[in-house]
């Protein structure tokens, strides 16, 4: 069922409580989940779904998913991590994810932002 205003507000409050030193903390999250199971607020399913979405979005902002077609050179992930940490002014960790559909090059995704430098995207731009 669709979350009402109160549920949205509660989910946002719980989300704010899930931080420790500016980052999502596993301890805080388990504490929030414990509170939810103990107090059983209204619309628990909608509440938890909203909470999950907020946490997922936040975690994605601290992760650089590096899709690549060929082999990645050594140190590339570290370079990306450093560059993104500097750019977004928060700790960003890079994870490699092989994707042959890119043909060549890489694509880095940090939260909603995509940095595209793949042959597939260049070809798509040419065909447009």
């Amino acid at each position: 069922m669709a979350a009402d205003k109160k549920t949205k507000l509660l989910a946002r409050q719980l989300f704010k409580l899930s931080f420790e030193d500016g980052q999502v903390s596993a301890d805080q999250v388990s504490g929030v989940l414990g509170w939810v199971s103990k107090h059983s607020p209204r619309h628990p399913l909608a509440l938890l779904q909203l909470y999950q979405r907020l946490i997922t979005t936040e975690l994605a902002r601290s992760q650089a998913v590096v899709s690549h077609a060929g082999p990645l050179a050594e140190g590339v992930l570290t370079q990306i991590e450093q560059a993104m940490t500097q750019k977004y002014r928060r700790p960003v960790t890079a994870n490699a994810s092989p994707d042959s559909s890119l043909l060549a090059g890489i694509r880095v995704r940090v939260g909603d932002d995509i940095y595209e430098s793949s042959a597939a995207s260049q070809l798509a731009a040419l065909s447009a």
């Binding site: 907020l54 932002d113 995509i114 940095y115 430098s117």
Partner: protein
């Protein structure tokens, strides 16, 4: 051979290795032309967003968790989870002379099957209206070719004149007459080689109309050879509400190009009632708070910001707007009609009763007004038509009293007779606008009493014969009136001679 290699090298050079940044989101829900999108954290208000398959949308609601986008295209291809990308651009449409004679959709894409439009410039659909310093007061006329309007409710270039009335009262016909008249004036003016002549280009925006009506409109303009000076922006009833919402703004952007480039343009919004309904639909789906008649709170701003873009600019051109509003059972005090009445510089009110009585165009002289147009009226029209509104008002007042008794004094009877003839004289067939010099000549003959001896039911045929007489035999006189734009004594003498000559040919009572 080396040429081929160069070509390939150039192509390779185009493929920059620099990373391109995109801000993305994913469709959470899509319904009724509106998509709710997760992500898009960098999106700007009114920014164009790209859906899969080349479909375009506009970000209209920027909320805490999601972005509400209206989809300007086929919604059926979109599904939950599809990636949406920001473009960093505001919605823009192609503008320029290349669009003349073409029929385009709300995004400026051709829909007339005449091939692509070679337009190099693009204007944003949403633009802040010119400020007070850039504007100039309205003092140049824009002739509609309709005698009742040009003589009593004159319109000036840069004015916003509302055309309001029930369904089937001839609102669109007045707009088409005006467009056809501009085309006729343009042809005569451009052929004359007068360097000071400023043609008026027309833009007709069809919002929420039946496709068959749009086809009829195009055919009427083509038949009158007016399409070459006209651009038609069509967002018909079959288009989704987002396209209907954006179409008037696209039309305004196209019109602004003419205005900014020192030319004059006329834009017809047919009609803003359906536009408000389309906007209400979008707003309700976007879950914006609704107000009176379920319209959103900013429906006034929707129309005011659109109509404020019509202006006459200092050192540049002008954009004249003719918005159309359809009333229900003649109720001008409904929400949208009162809004638009208060925004515009006057209104032409069309009455069903008059229409059914055969008085067409069914302009209600009492309720119609032009707030700025009188300063744009040319001298000849003022000379011959200055007293008409008063005479008609007197006629209506006396006609109401005359119903109760048959004994009338001579003066009252004369006023009634004159009024009845004015009413007859203002009857005009549709899609047949009259040149201002012909109008002036006809009104002069009326003022001088040439129609007094003609029976009321014979006034229309007599007027037609006068029109034909002037057009076929007194062309130089008409040209002189057109060029001088005033009734000088020598022109008046010539007109009198012509009227005497004509009078001898018509039967009197």
């Amino acid at each position: 051979m080396s040429n081929v290699i160069e070509q390939i090298e150039q192509q390779i050079a185009k493929l920059s290795t620099k990373a391109v940044k995109r801000n993305t989101g994913h469709i959470r829900t899509v319904a009724d032309g509106v998509a709710k999108v997760d992500g898009l954290s960098d999106v700007m208000y009114n920014e164009m967003v790209q859906f899969p398959g080349g479909t375009i949308g506009i970000a209209l609601n920027l909320e805490q968790d999601e972005v509400g986008c209206v989809v300007l295209g086929d919604v059926s291809q979109l599904k939950e989870g599809d990636e949406v990308t920001t473009t960093g651009k505001l919605l823009s449409v192609p503008v320029g002379r290349a669009l003349l004679g073409r029929v385009v959709d709300a995004l400026g894409r051709p829909i007339d099957g005449k091939g692509p439009i070679d337009s190099k410039e693009f204007y944003p659909v949403e633009k802040i209206a010119p400020g007070v310093m850039a504007r100039k007061s309205v003092n140049q006329p824009l002739f509609t070719g309709i005698m009742a309007i040009d003589s009593m409710i004159p319109i000036g270039r840069g004015q916003r004149e509302l055309i309001i009335g029930d369904r089937g009262t001839g609102k669109t016909t007045i707009c088409l007459d005006t467009i056809i008249n501009q085309a006729r004036i343009n042809k005569v003016g451009l052929a004359s080689g007068d360097k000071n002549f400023r043609p008026v280009y027309s833009i007709y925006v069809a919002v929420g109309q039946k496709q068959s009506n749009v086809v009829r409109t195009i055919a009427a303009l083509e038949a009158a050879d007016a399409l070459q000076y006209t651009i038609i922006v069509a967002a018909t009833a079959a288009d989704n509400p987002a396209n209907q919402y954006i179409a008037p703004f696209s039309g305004a952007a196209i019109g602004e190009w003419f205005m900014e480039n020192g030319q004059d343009a006329l834009i017809v919004y047919d009609d803003l009632s359906k536009h408000a309904v389309a906007y209400r639909q979008i707003s309700l789906i976007l879950k914006r708070p609704s107000g009176r008649e379920a319209y959103p709170g900013d429906v006034f701003y929707l129309h005011s910001r659109l109509l404020e873009r019509a202006a006459r600019l200092e050192g540049k051109g002008s954009l004249t707007a003719l918005p159309v509003i359809e009333t229900q059972a003649g109720d001008v005090s409904a929400y949208i009609p009162t809004n638009v009445i208060s925004i515009t510089d006057g209104q032409i009110f069309l009455e069903t009763d008059l229409f059914n009585q055969g008085i067409r165009p069914a302009v209600s002289v009492g309720l119609s007004v032009s707030r700025v147009g009188s300063s744009a009226q040319i001298k000849v029209t003022k000379q011959v038509g200055g007293k008409l509104k008063g005479e008609l008002a007197q006629f209506r007042e006396l006609a109401a009293f005359a119903q109760f008794g048959s004994d009338l004094d001579a003066k009252t009877k004369a006023t009634l007779d004159r009024g009845a003839r004015i009413v007859e004289l203002f009857k005009q067939p549709q899609l047949n606008p009259l040149a201002i010099e012909v109008q002036a000549s006809i009104l002069w003959t009326l003022q001088k009493g040439y129609f007094d001896s003609i029976e009321v039911k014979s006034v229309v045929p007599a007027m037609n014969s006068l029109r034909d007489f002037l057009a076929t035999r007194k062309d130089t006189l008409l040209t002189a009136i057109r060029n001088k734009a005033a009734l000088a004594p020598e022109i008046e003498a010539e007109l009198k001679a012509a009227a005497d000559e004509w009078k001898a040919t018509v039967a009197t009572k």
